[in-house]
């Protein structure tokens, strides 16, 4: 029996919140929903959920403001960014603030439940799109020309490339001849590097995704 996972859903569109709730409440314990930054912080402080499904775009600072507000209270919870936006800047922004993963709103209910559980277990969840953004940001001769920045190892790149191609972690592991746990380890390491990279560098990358 899988231990219950307590979830708070945060999105400024009530219709979307009720849709997600209906999709996942068979498998997950949805303890609260919120429609704004302040509501979300109150609900998280009151409920202490395991995972917060967090919209990237919201009035009043967006997902980043919620993550920073909760960090200030010292409450430990995991954030999974859920967005309809394809703007690399927004996605990178919320990951840098401390989200453990990013999935798009078109994700299937089963995949969303799976991603939520993995974030709960401490894993990092990279959608193909996020993997692509990260590969782009850390491209040779790209924004990482500063040697101080944690460069990606060749193996990390291989893993990200397979994820970007649409492979699940298990398939990545099989293709590379490593265990799924090792794949997970690489992805978490990339997430850590991403969060340690200066915001300025990544913003510069996001604003000039230029032709080479």
């Amino acid at each position: 029996m899988i231990p219950p996972c307590r979830v708070v859903i945060v999105d400024d569109h009530p219709l979307f919140v009720s849709g997600v709730r209906a999709e996942i409440e068979h498998d997950l314990d949805v303890v609260a929903t919120a429609n704004g930054v302040d509501d979300a912080i109150k609900a998280i402080v009151a409920e202490r959920p395991d995972v917060v499904l967090l919209d990237v775009h919201m009035p009043g600072g967006g997902g980043r403001a919620v993550i920073e507000g909760i960090a200030a209270t010292g409450i430990q919870t995991a954030f999974l960014a859920l967005s309809v936006s394809d703007e690399p800047r927004d996605v990178i922004d919320v990951i840098q603030a401390g989200a453990r993963g990013y999935v798009t709103k078109t994700i299937s209910p089963a995949d969303l439940v799976d991603a939520t559980r993995r974030v709960h277990d401490g894993d990092a969840v990279f959608s193909p799109r996020l993997a692509g953004f990260v590969l782009d940001a850390f491209r040779e001769g790209g924004a990482d020309s500063d040697p101080e920045l944690g460069r990606l190892t060749a193996r990390e790149r291989e893993v990200l490339r397979l994820i970007a191609r649409g492979h699940a972690y298990k398939e990545c592991a099989r293709r590379l001849g490593i265990s799924p746990k090792t794949v997970e380890h690489h992805v978490s390491s990339v997430l850590r590097k991403l969060q340690l990279t200066s915001r300025h560098e990544l913003t510069r990358w996001a604003t000039d995704r230029r032709l080479v």
């Binding site: 692509g132 649409g166 995704r209």
Partner: protein, 380 residues
């Protein structure tokens, strides 16, 4: 003589004898003769209707008549003082400059403001600046003239009093006209920003009409057909997203844009959604065009045969090469047992890439999905 005097009189509406007297006065000084000759040449035919020429001609005529009259008065000896008259002249010119501005702007002001939308901010700024310069220049002339007048009348003794009186007058004028000018400026800028807002709203309305409203109408008509509805919704989403986030849609004119366009095309033809992930971008070239065409083949192939509604397209530009991967999570197949039909499609993908110095490979295993790997050099 030559009808000049009578025409001038008719133009400016004074008796003919006054004009003749003015010319005689001018003739005494000698300039009049030259001016008369000049006017004979310059005078337009009766019945002219070019407003600009008429205005210029009339202004010249008035100036000559006035100057003639003044010179007559001066010659007779009824002349107060040269300094005084010069001061008055300067004041008169200043007032004329200011009033010309008011007259030109006042009647059609709001019409001009609204019709200037197409001129744009640059035209606006120029017009505004020219008007301001005129106002400042006119004001300076008036003040200088008044100062000269005061000095001429009372010499230096009363100069300080004159200066005080002038400052007082200037302050008075500012107090009277100040609020009005501020109000005018504010009304103008409000109207301007309102116009910009209206333009933005129109553009937005046009965009929503073209994409979203049309899509919603189509969805209503095909409400019973789930697949068709999903396809239309996806297309509407793509269009709207491309408009809202032009960067993500990649209007680069390069590989990214071509791949985006291709995947939207395939989504429109089949009931699939394609997750496009890109790393890097490059200007289009012949091999890259072949890569796009091959990717399209692979996407169409996957859409037709995989039975999956979610496909992945990943491409990457690194160093001198570009790679693309098309993947479906379908049942897969044994590459050795495919029908000739599908082998043909596969060969067309691989063959196309090889002609441009690239390569292609299909990996598939039962239960593991199918992936087409493609690679070409960036330049021929």
């Amino acid at each position: 003589m030559a009808g000049v005097a009578s025409r001038l009189a008719g133009d400016i509406g004074v008796p003919v004898w006054l004009v003749r007297a003015a010319f005689v006065g001018l003739a005494v000084t000698g300039i009049g003769v030259i001016l008369y000759a000049a006017l004979v040449v310059a005078a337009p035919n009766p019945g002219y209707d070019a407003a600009g020429v008429a205005g210029l001609f009339r202004a010249t005529a008035v100036a000559i008549v006035a100057a003639g009259a003044l010179l007559v008065v001066r010659a007779i000896g009824l002349w107060p003082d040269d300094g005084l008259m010069w001061s008055l002249l300067v004041v008169a010119i200043g007032v004329a400059v200011i009033w010309q501005r008011v007259e030109a702007r006042q009647p059609g002001r709001w019409r001009r403001l609204t019709s200037r939308a197409d001129v744009g901010p640059i035209g606006d700024a120029l017009g505004g600046r020219a008007a301001a310069i005129r106002l400042v220049a006119g004001g300076a002339l008036v003040i200088a003239g008044v100062a000269g007048l005061l000095v001429a009348v009372d010499a230096l003794a009363a100069a300080r009093e004159g200066a005080v009186a002038m400052l007082a007058a200037a302050a008075g004028v500012t107090l009277i006209l100040g609020p009005w000018l501020v109000r005018l400026g504010r009304a103008y800028s409000e109207e301007r920003s309102g116009r910009i807002r209206a333009q933005e709203r129109e553009e937005m309305a046009a965009q929503i009409h073209d994409s979203t409203l049309q899509t919603l109408a189509l969805i209503q008509r095909s409400a019973g057909d789930g697949a068709e509805t999903a396809r239309l919704a996806r297309r509407g989403e793509r269009e709207l997203r491309g408009w809202l986030f032009p960067d993500a849609a990649g209007r680069s004119g390069g590989l990214r844009e071509a791949m985006q366009t291709t995947s939207v095309d395939v989504e429109g033809l089949f009931d699939v959604s394609i997750e496009v992930v890109s790393v890097g971008d490059a200007p289009m070239s012949e091999p890259l065009a072949a890569l796009v065409a091959a990717s399209r083949e692979a996407l169409v192939n996957a859409a037709k045969f995989s039975g999956q509604s979610g496909l992945s397209l990943f491409f990457e530009v690194e160093g001198g090469r570009a790679k693309a991967y098309v993947r479906d999570g379908g049942g897969g197949f044994d590459p050795e047992s495919v029908s000739d039909d599908r082998r043909g499609i596969r060969d067309s993908i691989v063959g196309r890439l090889e002609r441009h110095g690239g390569s292609g490979k299909v990996t598939s295993e039962p239960g593991g999905g199918t992936e087409v790997e493609m690679e070409v050099p960036r330049r021929p």
